[in-house]
Symmetry: C3
Subunit: 345 residues, 3 copies
Amino acid sequence: MEFTAKTIAEFLQGEVIGNPDTKVNNVAKIEEATPGTLAFLANPKYNKYLYTTEASIVLINKEFEIENEVSATLIKVENAYESFAKLLELAEQARPVKQGISDLAFIEESAKIGDGVYIAPFVYVGENVVIENDVKLYPHVFVDDNVTVKKNSTLNSGVKVYHECVIGENCIIHAGAVIGSDGFGFAPDENNVYRKIPQLGNVIVEDNVEIGSNTTIDRATMGSTIIKQGAKLDNLNQIGHNVQIGENTVIAAQSGVAGSTKVGKNCQFGGQSGIAPHIQIADGVKVTPQAGIPNTIKEPGSIVMGTPAFNIREFQKSFIVYKQLPDLFKRVKQLENELAKLKGE
Amino acid sequence: MEFTAKTIAEFLQGEVIGNPDTKVNNVAKIEEATPGTLAFLANPKYNKYLYTTEASIVLINKEFEIENEVSATLIKVENAYESFAKLLELAEQARPVKQGISDLAFIEESAKIGDGVYIAPFVYVGENVVIENDVKLYPHVFVDDNVTVKKNSTLNSGVKVYHECVIGENCIIHAGAVIGSDGFGFAPDENNVYRKIPQLGNVIVEDNVEIGSNTTIDRATMGSTIIKQGAKLDNLNQIGHNVQIGENTVIAAQSGVAGSTKVGKNCQFGGQSGIAPHIQIADGVKVTPQAGIPNTIKEPGSIVMGTPAFNIREFQKSFIVYKQLPDLFKRVKQLENELAKLKGE
Amino acid sequence: MEFTAKTIAEFLQGEVIGNPDTKVNNVAKIEEATPGTLAFLANPKYNKYLYTTEASIVLINKEFEIENEVSATLIKVENAYESFAKLLELAEQARPVKQGISDLAFIEESAKIGDGVYIAPFVYVGENVVIENDVKLYPHVFVDDNVTVKKNSTLNSGVKVYHECVIGENCIIHAGAVIGSDGFGFAPDENNVYRKIPQLGNVIVEDNVEIGSNTTIDRATMGSTIIKQGAKLDNLNQIGHNVQIGENTVIAAQSGVAGSTKVGKNCQFGGQSGIAPHIQIADGVKVTPQAGIPNTIKEPGSIVMGTPAFNIREFQKSFIVYKQLPDLFKRVKQLENELAKLKGE
């Protein structure tokens, strides 16, 4: 689809500076933009790009003062970043919406299917499943017996949801994620042969949660593994059995939370971080990438680093000395020599 | 299904204290239990919960002495933990068993299919595949040409087994795991362009192995990558080409074992640990979470920590000083100053 | 298939020493070989195995001097390693080639399908997709709307390619990999509730790229995430939105590159390594396993280690002292005591 500067300015209640008939069909970052795209300028650090960008249209803040010649058509708006975000959402909504139930899907008769759903070819829907209104199940999704998927959630291609799990409203689960596989529970006998501990609980994903591609969330041994509302999990995360992830907590890719740990709300975990089993993490805790948390963190808002992790400032101070250790080592040797000399004298 | 205290006590050969008609339909941890559930008490650390639990029935050890009022119906048994485990297994076995071969599965004519199998819709079974008795293949499983899956194994939804691989008896493979993809082998030419080294071997998974969701196990370049009997691999593990994992070795989630490494039996690897290629790990070695093992470990039963990893006690001693490094640094400076003064005098 | 020493020697233009009718049907490493297999000897370190190997045929270099009795039939060739590689490729090519379009695949009418393709049962091909000549789509592959897969590429079972992405020529993508899922982009509002930032870009995988099992590559927010030609990604890698991976760069398993980072060409990343967002990595940089790169690396060919990573030699020097920290600590204490004594005198 193509839009003119005039149309966009009207939609954003902005003012066109330049040719109102300039057309764009895509968006871009101002520093990478090519002809035919629309970009925005909000961060003063990027001001210089306004005069060199190849974007056809640039959104700028109303009060921005143009200092050199600009080839792009400009649209002055109240808040360039927010206007741009509005256009992105509009573009997203403009994508064709999939609907309807494919003849090539397999749906058990006992399943209850809402209105406005999309059930793609090769989707499997088990017994007593509830698929609420406006849910989207992309190709190769597996929804096992007794699962509920609440309204307006999207399960992308190849998502697997084991029996008895619950997916909340407005969730987005990305391709290949696995919800509800068995927790890793085994009891060794006297010969170190492991006997499987049955995993009888489930996973509850609350509303407005997003789960990344190929992330795995294990069912509880008993009770529920719970991902609370608004939490965002990136790709390839591992969430162990009986874990709780708090509201609006964000976990970057390839991180793991081990069994029975409770994570508070509004936490932020960097990529490849790891949290030990059977501990508590207070609200608002920040964990740096690759950090490993061995113990409960009680102080809300703590920031931790390292493996085993401790306070970020303490870590950084120690790390500075770590890099100088060979020198420190030499200096201690030097001191020993000098002291020996002194004593020898 | 609902059970009364009387029925459960008879099954466990225990004694009811309280109302024998109390009913339960689920199990729970004693500290999280809700009405209608059955819990157990074995660890003295949890004794206090007996007097506050909302569980309707609690299993306790025969010799346990009740010190306060208890609202739950109790069942005294020889060993509360084992009795509980027995009930869990019973509950697991009570789940309806899937059977039959779906018309919506694709099965090559040359495949040999045993009795009592479950082959779900959208399963693909290739040429000359052998599926032994009581095997379960859930939706979207891919079993490529010349694969054998031995009796009573379960491949959950979306498991992919490449050609020529062998899955042993009584194995459980969780959703999305990939068995037998190509090892990561490339030879650079004079321009740093990589030529693929053909990966002609296979993967052999022996009996009683459990493999977690989205775990990947690469085929051998030549010969076999082998997961020995009773080994348990958690989710999102990576096992490289030509690796051997020993009997009853347990590997927690997101760990990786690089190509051609041989891991002994009864080892325990923590989550996110990494093992270098072309090394040997002795029997019974324990690796802490996030540790990285660069070299062969010859001493059976070693426990190692850190990256690069070394003896856990040595690591912990060094780590204590690491946290004090800024102070140590100051003290060395102080010593230098004082010594300079002394010498100046 | 079986081959005689005579046939193999003719193909390789080599000379048979021993029985020209010796037959083999597989290849093996010389130290693990069993009867019926062919091995090679190139590395002098392995010379001793020639006299004990059970291989039926061994390729050796023309100039190799036999010192003891050998039971295997030998074939003398110009370069034993290269001859062996040639045989491996021959064996690989001898595997039956899948072709044809299954009736059990779902293909939108608007898709354009080339010649010589393989489209397996349960493959989904969306609207306006272009599948060029000789492409192979294995069972349960998902190719969403407007995707292009260029000639001679292979998507193994369960690969998922989101809408608008482009896969180059001669690529191999292993089972369960996800290309083009949404980047991890959210903007917190004043209540710490996250609003999703639409992810409108795509992923471009250039020619001759190999991507491992269950690896995830996110689409760009705007523009493209790009994997440049000849790059090789191992299993379970995570590539964030708007990342660029340079030509012939190799990334071992379970590594992650965070959003908007640009990685140069000919880099080598060890397993479980992590690269921060919004940075640049120069050409030819080597990252050791589990290392974490927080900042831009400008020096081509740098080798870095640790978390946060720095120059490998500096790291190793510091690490040697780290292991001796408890001793260093004692020595500083000792110095303090002795100095106190000296001053006291």
